[in-house]
Symmetry: C2
Subunit: 408 residues, 2 copies
């Protein structure tokens, strides 16, 4: 296995785009747990909304025809026969010359076909004087005005946002069929890594950071994450855990173990699988050159670099939207803006560099400055505002040049 | 209590801005649960990161001075005394003329002060031939290069994002002190409302939508929500539950019961409190004119309109960022863009209207069209792409005018 067969950023993006969406099964969940899930099938309304004629205003429900001659100087008298608050059933049918008080949202009594707003009426005991002529339908919300029974209200594959929750709740839908969450198995590898339960770090050891940050980053794409632990660089152990992870997961993401150094077993383990289809041995980027991407049947494995700053930046550039696509989530658009470079920036020829930068104010002008530490330092990411992309063939960005900054 | 004392949108926004941040206590939680929480105090690193000198490259750790004369045509011979993989402790001190193999990330042995990359070496059994002169410090990551012990690594009031999780994890921090979540008590009111557990809707009844959508909208601001149920328009019951909610919550949000109709008890109940300080009886907006905002000591109550579309739009315009501010979350910026109006739009004089609209393509030009249903329909929000703001004094927006669309 050679790492020299590396490809360009754009080639890797094209390969990822061409992979068909992973087929995911459905599950039924309560509506209150459905926020940010994706609908597996069209939703048909079981009811009309509203399912009764209701008033848009506080006023008097009448037979509209009875008001036709009403004017400010020709008040027409109606007999008040019922008061219908919101939520109550009307009991009395309206006849000629009669009216019922209806609150906003209250049901319209039988026979009434219009509502005169309270503002155009005067009440004298049980007599209501009306000063406005209305046409049939005035201030009445008809049955099914909002949603019609049997209508498809939400189409499959829609992400359930607040408006979708609202429209489903208004139809009384309690359970929905959604796609199961994409299952991602996460593995950290490296003899140097220890979990945060270790209080005293030995010389040579460092705390595992990727397990916590990649877990959250993956969950943000709509997927569920199972963490398979921090593994030593041991061929058999790694093979065994990858086998396990492949069984459980749709996608396995492993971090660490992709550099050329000794003890980097990830690629060697993947070589052992018979039905592998290794698509990418390395992408010419910095930081984090050696990403590996392998299809086992319909399963996919990514190997990310071990340094957290590299792992997370590779994740954002390549994997984030790949997972979102497979979760049925809208793709993430990176906010970007042009700024002037405030100091010369060096880059490595032959690798497309994602250079973390800070925006600083110089005499009132916002300018780009490189972060001095590299991908080996977690603080690089912490202090950065975003990154600029530097082409494979560029080695120096001069002060004063304009570059596009992509914000985290 | 009169609703005529209404104020303008901008006045209400100013009042909200002037309210001091609610004081919230702290709690200690595990780091893995700390994502999207806000730090209560500065975090000081308990360790140096790295806490040992490590190699930036795969190569040979040497005393730099020993390489000073090395060149491509003047190979210098070193004795290989140890191989140090990442994660292992070096056991042998380097002496003059000796070297140890170090993997990327491995600890540098005592006395060594530089690393020669593998590319500039040749290995013949236990002899290493070096063809490059290096200066002291080459390819060595010094102790504390990333983070220094006792250094403040993250300042209080910072939202814990992925980079923050990463920097905390790299210091081995397992628990953090964060602000407790802002507690919001949520109440739905209205005789017409029933929960989704009711299978058959009676005439006059509708499903409660606000409880589910406002709950999620509030949770998105970083707050926790306790739902106090759907209440009938009963003075004593409402008073009793508001009392309860005030005890539990920092902020109470009630929906329904702010129109002028009968049976709207929210405002009447608030009138009963002795230490109330009703700041706003109504805001001249459409939809959802009558928002009420009351301070009881350091507690705050908002009454939102009952229609879900109105409630959610009032929430977004006024309350969303108010809650975010109190949760220590970054404020939400609404994405907006100018478009041409595709058809005449009517508005009500005297109220600042947030008109929901759709963007439609007309001969290749994206144009604004009003949504035909109003705030009474949940589908209004569902089918809208965003809204335009129409000033109190405007009654007609002509086709062809340019308006700014705010996207949801």
């Amino acid at each position: 296995m050679k790492f020299l067969q590396t490809i360009k950023v754009e080639e890797f993006k094209e390969i990822l785009k061409a992979i068909p969406k992973i087929k995911i099964k459905e599950e039924i969940i309560p509506l209150e747990e459905a926020y940010n899930r994706v609908l597996f099938r069209d939703i048909i309304s079981p009811i009309d909304v509203p399912h009764f004629r209701k008033s848009r205003m506080d006023g008097y429900a009448v037979i509209a025809e009875d008001t036709f001659l009403a004017e400010e100087d020709n008040l027409i008298e109606f007999e008040l026969i019922e008061t219908i608050p919101a939520g109550e059933k009307p009991y009395i049918k309206i006849s000629k010359g009669q009216c019922s008080y209806v609150a906003t949202g209250a049901a319209i009594p039988e026979n009434a076909d219009g509502v005169v707003m309270v503002e155009f009426t005067e009440k004298i005991e049980d007599q209501i004087l009306i000063s406005e002529a209305i046409t049939p339908g005035t201030h009445i919300i008809e049955i099914g005005h909002d949603i019609q029974k049997e209508q498809i209200i939400v189409k499959k594959d829609r992400l359930i946002d607040l408006a979708t929750l609202g429209i489903l709740a208004s139809c009384g839908i309690q359970e929905v069929t959604v796609y199961k969450k994409l299952k991602v198995g996460l593995i950290s590898t490296g003899n140097e890594l220890v979990s945060d339960s270790v209080k005293e770090l030995d010389i040579g050891k460092i705390y595992d950071v990727n397990s916590i940050i990649l877990k959250k980053a993956i969950e943000n794409t709509g997927a569920s994450v199972e963490f398979f632990g921090i593994l030593k660089d041991d061929f058999n152990e790694l093979k065994c855990v990858i086998d396990d992870a492949l069984k459980y997961s749709d996608i396995v993401i492993l971090s660490g173990g992709t550099s050329k150094g000794e003890g980097d077993l990830g690629p060697k383990v993947l070589e052992q699988y018979k039905d592998k289809e290794i698509l990418v041995h390395g992408v010419r980027i910095k930081p984090g050159k050696p990403i590996i991407f392998t299809k086992f049947g319909d399963k996919i494995i990514f190997i990310l670099p071990g340094y957290p700053t590299s792992a997370l930046s590779c994740f954002y550039v390549f994997i984030d939207n790949f997972l979102r696509k497979n979760s049925g989530y809208p793709l993430k658009e990176t906010y970007s803006k042009l700024f002037e470079v405030g100091e010369r920036i060096y880059s490595t020829i032959g690798r497309h560099e994602f250079k973390t930068i800070k925006i600083q104010d110089v005499d009132g002008v916002k300018m780009i400055f490189p972060i001095k530490t590299g991908s080996e330092a977690i603080s690089t990411m912490f202090y950065a505002d975003g990154y600029i992309e530097i082409d494979e063939l560029e080695s120096i960005i001069e002060k004063g040049e304009k570059k596009r900054v992509y914000f985290f």
